[in-house]
Symmetry: C2
Subunit: 213 residues, 2 copies
Amino acid sequence: MQADEAVTAAPRLTRKGQATRDRIAAAAAALMFERGVAGTSIEDVQAAAGVSPSQVYHYFKDKKSLVKAVIAFQTTQVVQAFGAVEPRYSRLDSMEALRAWRDFAVNLERSLNYAGGCPIGSLGSELAESDAEARREVAAGFALWERSVVEGLRAMRERGELRSDADPRRLGLALLTMLQGGLLLTQIRRDTAALEAGMDAMLDHIESHLIPA
Amino acid sequence: MQADEAVTAAPRLTRKGQATRDRIAAAAAALMFERGVAGTSIEDVQAAAGVSPSQVYHYFKDKKSLVKAVIAFQTTQVVQAFGAVEPRYSRLDSMEALRAWRDFAVNLERSLNYAGGCPIGSLGSELAESDAEARREVAAGFALWERSVVEGLRAMRERGELRSDADPRRLGLALLTMLQGGLLLTQIRRDTAALEAGMDAMLDHIESHLIPA
DNA sequence: AGGAGTTTGTAAGGGTTACTCCAAAACGCC
DNA sequence: GGCGTTTTGGAGTAACCCTTACAAACTCCT
């Protein structure tokens, strides 16, 4: 009664195998972030990961399932670096933390030369209409992310800092939505003006729901 | 001294020629909205427009320039239907108009079965890293759209309805950014919750800058 | 009505890309 | 140390898709 048998008769991976599998996924993620899914061929991934053609197909059934792995990879990356539960610098449960979060996003985009947009948002946009399963996985990634953002706001409300008429669920979702729009427009406009204006407006809006100390 | 000579030694189009050219562009726009640029082959466009292969290349140099035409097509569509200067229903210069605008977007997405996202936003996301010229054209389209939204807010301020510390430029840009994020998440999640929460938050924020009558 | 220029159909070339096959090498466990 | 399994290499195939060449049909102006 192995649990993974039902999924895909998983061949067990040796340590080395796991390493190359990860290397392929990471290389694919980086390339697809830069050039999009359609813009990166399997051959590109091979070259970037330093593997031979057969290896890609040994570890992934086809390109679609490689994309699936990339989505999972980017989701964990984003939620770890940009989520609120265990973010790199602090929990998103104060205005200071939220402002720092905004600055982090803006500076990150700058350091990336305004390219790529959101690692999972752009994947979702490209795949939503062509790969239903991929769309669902991206949506699940967003749900995870959303939950982690909402959690911070909920903590603020439970500590009595946020007014009771402020709904953490809706505010958190709106905040994430604004971030997505900002990242998309950053990618298109090659500047962070929209990201900054959007996040500032949204954060001011949240701040207006604070209970004055 | 023909003006268009400098552009691309434009062969003059007969009425019929113009019609098929438009038909090709419209068919391409529809397909690329549904399946993305990479997901629609020239052959698909031929079939949808009811033309032969040579016709596409008679009216468009290559696929890239067809995409360029699609961007122009969608930009005018969006700005006409969703701009604020001459929108379908009213100018975006009152809270009522803004709320109606929000509802229009939500209902439109519903009627489209939550598919496609923003006609130019998704084009921008897909092309930003692979086609610099296309990215610039999409950015120009957004600039047009942005100006038309800002115009409405500016009118509100000039009529003395909006406080003087409310910057129409930043608010308008934030509003458009939120709309983009909402449309993107609608496409990925297949529901309008994010669009609704985001637009409502942003509109509440704007409303909080109104001068009470 | 005639003729130059525009529009359209057919057929096919050339390049890219996802994917497969088979055998050799490396690995891990007894 | 040896054997079953995993991992790797490289050549090869079939499909897809962008693009072009050429000739026939049609439009429009005078």
